[in-house]
Symmetry: D2
Subunit: 135 residues, 4 copies
């Protein structure tokens, strides 16, 4: 298991006329969560792409528990619960400033060769590092 | 069962550096789908809100089958499979111009009183109309 | 001079907690306007990119006269007032359903070679067509 | 004169298929800039709205000098050059990690009473504080 937390502040343009963060914007928050997880891990998502690997999303699931509002400083906890293979799954929990769990979800992504657009194994370096957390 | 289809063209700003429609933007396409379903039904989502009812989203699930690209003209098929109560579920299928199914998903929304922010029954008029499709 | 009009309906996720269309979203509406202008012209922006030309934006200016609201069906009038060279300028006027002018603006874009990322002349075919409107 | 700087990291969903940050997204960066300026000033934009004042945008002008890319950590410098009255103008400069100026722009906003939607003077407290910087 490997977890990382990151903060994101709700932007004005991310709210809707209900005054809530628009439901579609959580997908971006999740992406920030997994990007920062990888960064804290010593690898950037950009470095994946620069080495010819892209990571399209296969599935997205979100459960909205409570709304968030403009200017809220949210905490995103991102977790890898299973050793990644060709696919990698991230679980997310989002907390508001009162530390209430407001949102849970997950995404599954697939490692793809940018040129051929075929699935492929993750980079060796990444696999080697992540295996330490799944003894 | 009640179904409606609508068209949406992928905008430049909706693509990402993979050249695909960004995964988070499908939430907006789903919203367009259910909005147009209600419009074809003779009711607008705006009229709900104007009568003091809001419809926040409880769950969102998306399965990405194939990517879509800038300028693609997508067809969104939105279906209500169950008679709505306090909650209403919409199922979505998105097709590209080659009529390939590229994306499926669903959302569950809840009827909420704008003032009290408590769940409530759908408007009578809407219930009466929709019941015709669930004999 | 060459003008084209296109319609766009304001999406829920494009509004903000004021209930207005978020000010940043007009840039997308402008892009829809110029894309449709080129399409009505028999050329797609995608065909530019497929032939190795990209069109980054150099300047954007917007004047917000009146707000627009969720579900409004807006009319975007896009105009090329000057024969394009390496640069191409588009002027925009947006009207609401009451035919009130709610927004004016302009963008200047530059033709760039995708590989070298250097400015270049527009494609011959495009120049030839557009010249007919600037006798 | 009053200046503030803030950082923003370019999100994946903010890029487009050119690989650049989509031109419309700078409006959000500007909003983050002015929001953080007001926050460092001891006032939040949210507190304005909570006291019945909204701040719609009247004009937006952007000059794109260089592109930014996914994962770039940008610095936004926001400046108030003139004592605000009913209108308030913000100037922006955006720098990349190499400290290159990549983008300049400005926005003019107007203080509006949320109920009447008429222009009004800024809150006394804000005026008193900001006047210290325009002796």
């Amino acid at each position: 298991m490997y977890s990382a937390t990151t903060k994101v502040r709700v932007r004005y343009g991310e709210t809707d006329r209900m005054g809530y963060t628009y439901y579609g914007n959580y997908a971006q928050y999740y992406e920030i969560g997994r990007t920062d997880l990888m960064r804290q891990f010593g690898l950037t998502y950009r470095s994946f792409e620069d080495s010819g690997i892209i990571l399209p999303v296969l599935t997205l699931n979100i459960k909205y528990i409570k709304p968030s509002y403009y200017d809220d400083l949210l905490t995103i906890k991102t977790t890898i619960n299973n050793l990644p293979g060709i696919r990698i799954k991230f679980d997310y929990e989002i907390f508001n400033e009162q530390n209430e769990l407001i949102n849970i979800g997950d995404t599954t992504l697939v490692f793809v060769d940018e040129k051929t657009r075929n699935p492929r194994k993750p980079p060796e370096k990444f696999l080697k590092e992540i295996k330490k957390y799944f003894p």
